[in-house]
């Protein structure tokens, strides 16, 4: 692949990403923590994130799409249970998720 195209793509990607962050910082100056607008943004932020994650599990991009949907959902539920039972330890479920999916996909 041509090097120029890659550099241009990196610049375009970085700009397209920074715009949202910077606009967010500017908008924040006018939003009070106690306002309803803030609560609405909070809900939209959590929903958008959840939508992205739901999509990553159900319709993943890249290598993850080569694993079975049922296995991905199984791994997710097992790991969330570990998270809840381990007093919200995050290291344990994340390590186990990688091992579990690798093993279940390779058999």
């Amino acid at each position: 692949m041509e090097s120029n195209i890659i550099v241009l793509a990196i610049v375009a990607t970085s700009l397209a990403t920074f715009i949202s962050r910077f606009m967010g910082a500017i908008t924040s100056e006018k939003v009070s923590v106690k306002s309803k607008v803030f609560n609405w943004f909070n809900c939209v932020a959590y929903s958008t994130l959840a939508a992205l994650l739901g999509r990553m599990i159900i319709f993943p991009a890249g290598v993850l799409s080569e694993s079975l949907l049922i296995i991905r959902i199984l791994v997710l539920f097992i790991c969330i249970s570990i998270f809840l039972y381990s007093k919200k330890n995050l290291v344990l479920p994340t390590i186990i998720s990688a091992i579990l999916l690798s093993v279940l996909t390779s058999v």
Partner: protein, 234 residues
């Protein structure tokens, strides 16, 4: 200029049982290996994480390049997938504002906004004195950002040792970590509704529009959750 005690408190959130270091490592190692496959050199791969630092957007970029999309198409596709950073910034930065702090800190440190750093900051801002919250945020941000860049380099260099099963294993870590963090954040009815509805609507709308699904799912689910929360007093 920056309160170093609070800054290191932020940086230290990389350690411990709630550390984001492992999920960050897993996904950026996978990204480094993927960028190598896509024909990037080491400097370009590191630069991508340095300047973009938003995994879904970087994945879209790599995939678009492979199918020969134009730069304008890449720009629009990345903007749509990373637009989530806008409501995320607006729902975090007002919590970090203090009139004694200079504006440049906010304008520069918004670059650190990513899902992992956002979830950490939302989880722990209350423990930090309001005056120094932005310095805490800069600490969290520098820690997660440098981890991401370093791991992209490691992923690039170790690409040939990673087989497909290992790559699949690495790819699940990120969504699992974020799901756990979000479930941990479901402390009131509006956030719980937002998370559950978003998870359902995201894939559902994706069936009709791949590019606009996140934006629509976020807006619809978030607005319903907001109204629901208002009616129930939270």
């Amino acid at each position: 200029m920056i309160n170093s005690k609070v800054f290191f408190q932020g940086l230290n959130s990389l350690k411990g049982s709630r550390s984001p270091a492992i999920p960050l490592a897993a996904c950026f190692i996978a990204l480094g290996a993927l960028l190598k496959d896509a024909g990037f050199n080491l400097q370009q791969s590191a630069a991508s994480s340095l300047f973009t630092y938003a995994l879904p957007g970087q994945l879209v970029m790599a995939e678009s390049l492979l199918v020969g999309a134009s730069i304008l198409n890449i720009f629009i596709a990345v903007w749509l997938v990373n637009f989530r950073l806008y409501p995320m910034t607006v729902s975090l930065f007002p919590l970090l504002v203090h009139k004694s702090q200079p504006k440049w800190k906010y304008y520069l440190s918004c670059h650190f906004l990513a899902v992992s750093s956002w979830l950490i900051a939302k989880d722990s801002y209350k423990k930090i004195n309001k005056k120094h919250r932005i310095d805490f945020w800069i600490g969290v941000g520098i820690g997660t950002w440098t981890t991401a860049i370093l791991m992209t380099i490691i992923g690039y260099l170790s690409a040939e040792y990673l087989n497909k099963d290992m790559m699949i294993g690495l790819a699940i870590v990120n969504p699992v970590y974020f799901f756990c963090m979000m479930i941990g954040a479901m402390k009131n009815i509006s956030i719980s509704t937002a998370v559950i509805l978003g998870t359902i609507l995201g894939p559902l709308i994706y069936l009709y529009s791949t590019e606009w699904s996140l934006l629509f799912a976020g807006l619809i689910a978030g607005t319903i959750a907001f109204i629901f929360g208002e009616k129930n007093g939270i």
